[in-house]
């Protein structure tokens, strides 16, 4: 059991979130199982990032869909030994939502406000801090007057409703839920801050041990992933019916279809890990002290499999 | 005056109802030293608790100085077989706590504590804690605690039963000394007929199942009571009655196995059942 990995199973981790739709759809379609042939697929769903990363470190997981910041952090903290990013999965799907009836119209109006992010040092938290900095605002910790409260998404919804928050930088489907259930309005769609409106929100990582021992399995996995993305691009209706099914299987109660529909509109699915954007994220994170300064984040990428599989 | 009239008391427990006292009537004059004896379970403690106000009678009435007893109060001090001292308080504080509960003005505490701890020869130990005292010393503190608030009635439930014979002898002397000096009414429960005769103006014997008064013997002897002959006369008289009751209890405990033979319970004026002090 212990960090031994047999050649006859691949253990894949994922999160029951909309931003993990490529993984969920692939599972529902049985794509990975097909691609792996005689090798068995074991999936593990997580509800929080640290457990997934700890599982990779512990050798209990071979591959995992995860956010870019945990992925880069996991790489750097292990001195480049734990994992590699082998493909992208999703782009976009995050936004700064503010109270609809508030007078906030631009970054300047955020001075003195209380804003939520999902977790200190996660992808959205970083985006929010970076956004404030670029607009010349300082957080309370930096001696400024903007207060950032990292808090669970569910609690954000609650607090937005109770008007105890002025805004929140959250991923989908929380953007949509804030709009519909908490009287929110989008102030910044994160895509607008990036070149080509593209930045990674979910990537596929594999453990280095797995990569070294079974590169052919990694290749099969990535190829299947890319094929699935191609399929998704042309089968939007099927995606909409498969997603809730997959979520339900993982113990998630189905969201209303309208919410799913609308949320999917703000997410793009792509196997491109967007190296430039990733490096930008890494340098932002380093500036804020969320990532070790040592190590080369660019070496976290191993793009030989995506490149050879015809990126959609 | 303590007046108990037509008092009955039942206890209901899981195993059924138990008739502890059956229309008991008893008057105790002020300043009298009354001893209650009787076989185990005959209701001695129950009777004492009724006077103390710790139990309420099912029927009948208990009045102390013409006031019906409805609750315990510091006018009736109680001493138990176990000293029931408060382990978290020093000897002095134990006595003071009694004074406080009896609403004795604080200015008097110092004097009273000293008086009574000296009376029981424990002034040296005023700052000791309970666990540092021997059993006899503990009972002496309990006695001081009972006496310090100057109650009109002193109720004692086998206060010396767990002490060794020597210590008990010493405390008998101290108790009689104190009683003589303060002229309190004392009700003293004991298993020990000799102890009862040595101490009491009156020895009341209870019979068992249900508990009722079987004998009420006036002990007309001068104190201190040392002359063996006189004490022995009373002890013998009461013992004879008690033996009948004890046999009754034994028979219930042991069933047919119990056969009272003249030889197996050595009897006689000084060596008999319960005759020892």
């Amino acid at each position: 059991r212990r960090s031994t990995q047999s050649a006859d199973t691949v253990r894949l981790g994922l999160f029951p979130n909309l931003t993990h739709a490529p993984a969920l759809v692939a599972l529902e379609r049985g794509i990975f199982t097909q691609a792996l042939g005689s090798v068995k697929l074991e999936t593990k769903a997580f509800s929080a990032g640290p457990e997934a990363m700890e599982a990779i470190y512990a050798g209990a997981l071979d591959a995992c869909f995860i956010g870019p910041i945990p992925a880069l952090n996991g790489y750097l903290r292990s001195d480049g030994r734990a994992l590699k990013i082998v493909a992208g999965a999703a782009s976009g799907g995050a936004a700064l939502v503010v109270q609809a009836d508030s007078p906030i119209v631009g970054a300047k109006d955020l001075a003195g406000k209380k804003l939520a992010s999902p977790q200190l040092g996660n992808t959205q938290d970083l985006a929010l801090r970076h956004y404030l900095e670029r607009n010349g605002l300082k957080t309370k910790e930096q001696g400024g007057d903007v207060q950032i409260v990292p808090i669970a998404n569910a609690d954000t919804l609650q607090l937005m409703r109770a008007k105890q928050l002025d805004g929140a930088w959250v991923p989908e489907p929380w953007v949509t839920r804030l709009l519909h259930e908490a009287g929110g309005r989008i102030l910044v769609d994160e895509r607008d801050l990036w070149p080509d409106r593209k930045f990674p929100i979910t990537v596929l990582v594999v453990s280095q041990k797995f990569l070294e021992a079974q590169p052919q399995l990694v290749e099969k996995l990535v190829r299947a992933h890319v094929e699935n993305l191609t399929w998704m691009a042309s089968h939007a209706d099927e995606v909409r019916t498969l997603l809730p099914k997959a979520l339900l299987k993982l113990g998630q109660k189905a969201l209303p279809p309208e919410i799913i529909d609308e949320a999917l509109k703000r997410i793009d699915f792509t196997s491109d890990p967007m190296p430039a954007a990733l490096m930008q994220l890494a340098s932002d994170a380093r500036k804020l002290g969320y990532m070790p300064a040592a190590g080369k984040p660019e070496e976290a990428l191993d793009l030989r499999f995506v490149k050879g599989s015809g990126t959609p | 005056m303590i007046r108990i009239s037509q008092v009955s008391k039942h206890f209901i427990s899981r195993t059924g109802s138990h008739h502890a006292l059956d229309s008991v009537s008893l008057d105790i004059a002020d300043g009298q030293f009354v001893c209650l004896v009787g076989p185990s379970g005959c209701g001695k403690s129950t009777l004492l608790n009724l006077i103390a106000g710790l139990e309420m009678p099912d029927s009948g009435s208990v009045t102390v100085f013409d006031t019906p007893v409805t609750a315990p109060g510091p006018d009736r001090s109680v001493m138990f077989q176990d000293s029931a001292l408060f382990p978290w308080l020093s000897v002095r504080k134990n006595v003071e706590f009694g004074l406080e509960l009896a609403n004795v003005p604080r200015s008097e505490w110092q004097g009273r504590v000293e008086t009574f701890l000296k009376k029981v020869h424990l002034w040296r130990f005023r700052d000791a804690y309970v666990h540092e005292l021997s059993g006899g010393m503990r009972q002496r503190v309990a006695l001081a605690r009972s006496l310090a608030p100057d109650p009109r009635v002193l109720l004692m439930d086998e206060p010396f039963a767990s002490l060794d014979a020597q210590t008990r002898d010493v405390l008998h002397v101290e108790l009689q000394e104190i009683w003589r000096a303060t002229q309190k009414t004392v009700v003293f429960v004991t298993h020990n007929v000799r102890e009862a005769v040595r101490l009491g103006d009156r020895v009341i014997m209870l019979a068992t199942r249900p508990g009722r008064i079987k004998h009420d013997v006036k002990i007309d002897l001068a104190r201190p009571r040392e002359s063996e002959g006189d004490v022995a006369y009373y002890v013998g008289r009461i013992m004879k009655e008690l033996k009948v009751e004890v046999d009754k209890v034994m028979r219930e405990e042991m069933g047919d196995a119990w056969q009272p033979t003249p030889g197996d319970l050595p009897s006689g004026p000084t060596g008999g059942v319960g005759g020892g002090i």
């Binding site: 059991r1 212990r2 509800s47 512990a58 209990a60 569910a154 998630q252 | -």
Partner: protein, 215 residues
């Protein structure tokens, strides 16, 4: 609220969750008992053990379950065992400490009496000291049960595996109050049920046997 409660129960996931969680609870708790009782016994009776292990046990007890999650993953990977480990780690130490206290309260006279009758070694421990400390051990077991419950809820967050802890977390994550409420009511209900059906009965029996309810 009653309606949302009903909704929470109606889809059956709660029932499944209860089954999964109870199984884990039962196994984890049993392990804690099997390890904790002898350990507590040993700590109470041996100065050497007490000085070495006693401190460690006391310190470990303060650790919240969240600290055990990474360790569980490293040692046991993504398996049932990892969840059980969190349950055991969360309840073992308090059971041990309570047992130690229970054994310390055994009247020394009973032990002396048994020794004069010839009891020695394991016989003394298992036939005399253990039953004599039963009242104290029972309260330790009760306590351990609470800790086991709470740790299980944390342990089930390791990965999605269908227990009540998971339902609670996802319910919270999705702001599905009917589910959260239903899980809470279930936990309280199960807690009360075990208390009444198991611990109260055991305690009642011990009290009757010991005669302490007469006091």
């Amino acid at each position: 609220m009653a309606r949302s409660l009903w909704e929470g129960f109606s889809d059956g996931t709660i029932l499944v969750g209860v089954g999964v969680s109870l199984r884990r609870l039962f196994i984890g708790y049993s392990i804690s008992l099997i390890v904790g009782l002898p350990l507590g016994l040993g700590l109470a009776r041996s100065k050497v053990l007490e000085d070495s292990l006693g401190t460690i046990v006391t310190g470990m007890q303060a650790l919240p379950s969240i600290c055990w999650l990474p360790i569980a993953l490293i040692w046991f990977g993504l398996s049932e065992t990892a969840i059980l480990f969190v349950v055991v780690a969360g309840s073992l130490f308090s059971i041990t400490i309570a047992t130690t206290a229970g054994v310390r309260n055994v009247p020394p006279l009973l032990v002396r009496a048994a020794r004069t009758m010839g009891a020695r070694g394991p016989q003394l421990y298992f036939r005399v000291i253990l039953p004599a400390s039963l009242p104290g051990i029972l309260s330790g077991m009760r306590l351990g049960w609470t800790f086991a419950w709470r740790s299980l809820m944390a342990g089930e967050l390791l990965f999605v595996s269908g227990g009540l802890g998971q339902l609670l977390a996802t319910g919270r994550e999705l702001r599905d109050m009917s589910r959260v409420l239903a899980v809470m009511v279930t936990i309280v209900g199960l807690g009360l049920l075990t208390d009444v059906l198991v611990f109260d009965r055991l305690e009642q029996r011990v009290r009757e046997r010991w005669g302490t309810d007469r006091a």
